[in-house]
Symmetry: C2
Subunit: 559 residues, 2 copies
Amino acid sequence: MPSYVIGIDYGTNSVRTLIVDCADGGEIATATYDYPTGHQGVVLDPSDHHLARQHPADYLAGLEQSVTAALAAADQQTGFSTDRVIGIGVDTTGSTPLPVDAANVPLALHERWAREPAAMAWLWKDHTAAAEAARITALAAQHRPRYLARIGGTYSSEWFWSKIWHCLKTAPEVFAAAHSWVELADFIPAVLAGVQDPAAIRRGVCAAGHKAMYSDAWEGLPDADFLRLLDRRLADLRERLYDRAYDASVPAGSLCEPWARKLGLPAGLPIAMGAFDAHYGAVGSGVAEGVLVKIIGTSTCDCTVSPLSRELADVPGICGIVEGSILPEHYGLEAGQSAVGDIFRWFVEVVCAGDAALHAELTTAAERLQPGQSGLLALDWNNGNRTILVDPALSGLLLGQTLYTTRAEIYRALIEATAYGARAIIDRLREYGVSIDRVICCGGIAEKNPLLMQIYADVTGCAMQVSARAETCALGAAMAAAVIAGPESGGHADFAAAQQAMTAIAAEEYTPRPAAQAVYEKLYGLYRTLHDAFGGVDTAVDLSRVMKDLIALKEAPSL
Amino acid sequence: MPSYVIGIDYGTNSVRTLIVDCADGGEIATATYDYPTGHQGVVLDPSDHHLARQHPADYLAGLEQSVTAALAAADQQTGFSTDRVIGIGVDTTGSTPLPVDAANVPLALHERWAREPAAMAWLWKDHTAAAEAARITALAAQHRPRYLARIGGTYSSEWFWSKIWHCLKTAPEVFAAAHSWVELADFIPAVLAGVQDPAAIRRGVCAAGHKAMYSDAWEGLPDADFLRLLDRRLADLRERLYDRAYDASVPAGSLCEPWARKLGLPAGLPIAMGAFDAHYGAVGSGVAEGVLVKIIGTSTCDCTVSPLSRELADVPGICGIVEGSILPEHYGLEAGQSAVGDIFRWFVEVVCAGDAALHAELTTAAERLQPGQSGLLALDWNNGNRTILVDPALSGLLLGQTLYTTRAEIYRALIEATAYGARAIIDRLREYGVSIDRVICCGGIAEKNPLLMQIYADVTGCAMQVSARAETCALGAAMAAAVIAGPESGGHADFAAAQQAMTAIAAEEYTPRPAAQAVYEKLYGLYRTLHDAFGGVDTAVDLSRVMKDLIALKEAPSL
């Protein structure tokens, strides 16, 4: 008898519900709800590019509407029945914390705060808290260096404590009104489970460990003495947060009556622990020891795992190493690039004032170019650098342009820049003993841009595989539900079994071409020279040879 | 009784004849002839961006047609008569040497060579001879350092000997067929004077001194022993070139019968010494001691003079210091930027795929921006660097872009980059004791782009004046003719008198705004950091603070 699981994926602009068959991971139905508030679901401030918020009302409306729509679509499929749904999983963007009252109701659902951005959810890409992040990093470096060791040495403005502290400083009345703060990844499962006390929310170690400096090694969240160095009121808040966070081997709860009625599902269904989209995306793509999953979209998230049974060094400059954050019994390692597709979109839509047709035209023209031919070199830092340098205050660079440089050459140089950034991450992981034998990519760009995939293979020297699943994040969340439900309910015994049954790799694989690799090896060396010089890694470096070397490469015989 | 002089200006795409009144420099008539050969008059090689040639037939057709058309137009003016034309002056691009046979006929006018680019004129912007230029620089540095001292330390691929040597190496049959080589600036006056023996051409010191390492200090051209270090055949060629070159105080010749008939002018008219467009443009703009003239077009040429009576140090990195090259009794100093308008054109037409309307739109949007606001910094090296670094193998750089950077911001950053380049030249001249009290700009961009002029004033801290004359190069050539004709014929006694009578400054002047100056002072410091790091001036420099400083400036309160 077939069994089904539901994965609910909270993205930046919409929420998508996916219903899959536990036996083979096949998609039964899907439905998307676009957030109505703000610009494509994001509340912006015209006077501050750093601000990005979302309205919690959109999350709740999207939960009900996308799940019911997906179930309605599934009902059209032969054999499907809501009785055979065995669990629900949730993944979300993050760190996306939101302030809630003592009844776990988001502040922004109160009329008083409905239009106050500080009372909404602080979307992952909100960068208003740069000063707070720098201060947290400095204080931790001085007083609690161990807090930094596993998050790459730098606490980010995108993360939990930076945002809450910024709220405290800039919107103290909101901070004062908040009983607690909850990551979206924990909030949605808690809503489904009907949790009405923030202290009773079962929090996931994914958000806690990667974004809130949580670790079992130091008994949970940063200690109160440390938080007092930031602000006494943050130490007070700590009392109302949580002592322990959990990996996906335990459920977040079970479906409460009110939401069971809203969704038309049986009450009591197990709800998997919520996690970040990229982490469940890695699960849904087939992450395992030796397998790096790259989720390539507007930015990238690169995930891999390493068994807890093996010693693992701190890896400086990667976003985080957290026990159990991706798979139980494994360290979850997360790295990423702060802009990939966003850079191409910026160039095509803003600089060239073009559209999808121009994307296609430039891709075709860029495919005809050989590595090194344009004489261009770019840094992929238009949105800062997330891995290795971990510095949002870096910016883009394009170098080597002449009076003859074409749009297609620039477009290709920007793709290449992101490939160099991807390689820097792989090199760094390997340098610290993390094995990477295979790379599996997912996301729209991986599926639709063979040029980019080939360049990534040539630059990294790794064969690039692509997930055959369109919705790996929602699939991973659904797989977590299948594992929580267990084989007795028609699910799976563990994640290895779930991955074996439910994930799939596309037939086409991109393998490195030796001639291109040789040229990219030189270009990558130049990229590192700029990277290290502009990133402050080298404190004394003569950059004068960079342009000459580029010109020499440009004039070298083509492949 | 009025008197008139003719100035003939050979540009990159066309030749223009200007007829002016000697009394006040007023324009009587003008006519332009567009070169028909190649792309907008330039013969290109699709497989080699460095190649740029022109067909001598275009020069001769343009000479006849533009002069006769201008005279026909002048004949419509009350009081004008060809009898009252008292002289002809010529300016041209350069270094633009062409190979000629023993009768001073350009090789390309022979059927055999008519389609051979090496037999045509080697246009100033031909960069095929980079290797030869580097070798000449190295040999001179080792064996004849004095040859380099007054040309800024580096012999250019754009110049006379580099091009001829490259012809020898790559088209030896053309080199062998050439009896001599003549700069276009000397060739046209020789044609008008009916000179049929290259050895009898009276060569101008402007081209000789700036481009062929000619100096009276070492008895003319580079000595035969030195040229033998390059190639024995260049030493042989030296015998067929010239021993002496002249400043504008002597005539190039007088109008021969055949060309008098073709043009409808009296035979015997004095012909002024030919010189480069920028040099006569400086004369026509009012160059004098303490006055820097900037001719701003696709590239810039910056000219000033210093009296021979005063000691003048070598100025490293400027294009040349030549006795009498601009005004008799003065050192002529030439510097320049290898691309200015060309960079804006590239960005608007190539990157943005726009036209003149987009230029205007971006200018309007860029005017609304404050200095430092975009967070962008660019180097103006898309066509290499002509002054200070003297290195064609440098390329463009744009830094500081984010996902929000607009076209208008980039456009303004490119204007600013050229302003920083302009300031670097002024600073360098002053550093070596050349006084600059006033800056006069001319050329289409100076006349039509107030935004650029204001930025130049703010960045350099110098008030920017603009010549009121539209055709300063042709005017300067015409003024040289008025001086050669002398007051007895209705001309002028000397250049000072001619400038007093015939040049004019526009009423509108651009003065530095202190608040903008303060921001640009910081940005210029960052530009110099990049300039020195990428130009190889600093051999050990940490560039990591550049982006931070830019962001700090970006977020500083606007003016």
